[in-house]
């Protein structure tokens, strides 16, 4: 059996071997991809292992997202390995009050703008990020619009944002 046709079960075993001290839970998703749940403190070392381990080589960061679950936040990273031809999703939860997590910019440099966007819209701060400023909204904007408890502003710099009733 060729190595790149490795089954997801085998991959779970392999990851359990490599990352035994970090993984909280590893699951197969309905689309046959792999979801691993980790503690947010171990994010940087997990990413480092996934990228640099010669058997795994998950060296493509496909996507990064942040989620607001009302009582907690989560960051999600989608990685791909050309060697194994497998995708893996890494997920880490954090508390809703003052959410903060390590930046993985030292491992994947391209995550810079992804993390800025997540900071801009959800207010998750990334420790060790080189330039954590707003990416999309104006720099003097208050609040983080994609949070569930966000209240839309009524005016911004003297511009009224309320919708006119007779406007079609």
């Amino acid at each position: 059996m060729r190595h790149n046709l490795m089954e997801t079960k085998k991959l779970i075993e392999l990851l359990g071997e490599k990352l035994s001290s970090f993984i909280v839970k590893a699951d197969k998703m309905p689309n046959n991809d792999l979801l691993i749940l980790i503690k947010k403190e171990s994010l940087l070392s997990v990413m480092d292992t996934l990228k640099n381990d010669l058997e795994l080589k998950f060296n493509v960061l496909m996507n990064h997202l942040g989620v607001d679950y009302t009582e907690s936040f989560a960051v999600i990273y989608n990685l791909y390995s050309f060697k194994l031809k497998k995708k893996v999703t890494v997920k880490a939860y954090m508390e809703h009050e003052n959410p903060e997590v390590d930046s993985i910019e030292s491992v994947f440099k391209g995550v810079n703008w992804f993390e800025r966007e997540t900071y801009d819209l959800l207010g998750i701060r990334f420790r060790g990020h080189s330039n954590l400023k707003r990416l999309l909204l104006p720099s003097d904007w208050e609040g983080h619009p994609l949070r569930k408890d966000y209240i839309y502003p009524e005016e911004y710099n003297g511009l009224i944002l309320k919708r006119e009733e007779n406007c079609k």
Partner: protein
Amino acid sequence: MLERYNIVNRFKEDHLFITTKVETALNLARANSVWYLLMGLACCSIELMQTGGPRADIDRFGSLFRATPRQSDLMIVAGTVTLKMAPRLRRLYDQMADPKYVIAMGSCANCGGPFTHSYSVLKGVDKIIPVDVYLPGCPPRPEALTEALIKIQEKIKKEKYLMKDET
């Protein structure tokens, strides 16, 4: 054989000059050389480009696009104006030389369009600059934009800026 009667022959035969008002002549010149500022902010700008293209051919009316506000008479706001863009838009409008005109093209520029409940979109460009022609549509067809330009031309032709303001 009768020579075909046209304006050139008429000049040859009867008159070497025509009489008109200075205002009318100036307005005619201004109305047929409306240069517009490229203000493509979203998908409406694709229709704006189509209007400048060979099929709709807005050049027939003497309108050309300019990439600088200093040489423009008309600003066609084509697309969604975000709150981040709004002060920049106002500055570009201020940099245009008088007399200047504005077409709010499409639903977004009129009142926010499909983004009217958004937190980051300006609900109508008339909140920051005066608008002469509101052009509905999402996006409007090139023919509609051509008509908006003709409306601007009609407005220019009616202007009496050499006379003293009576009011």
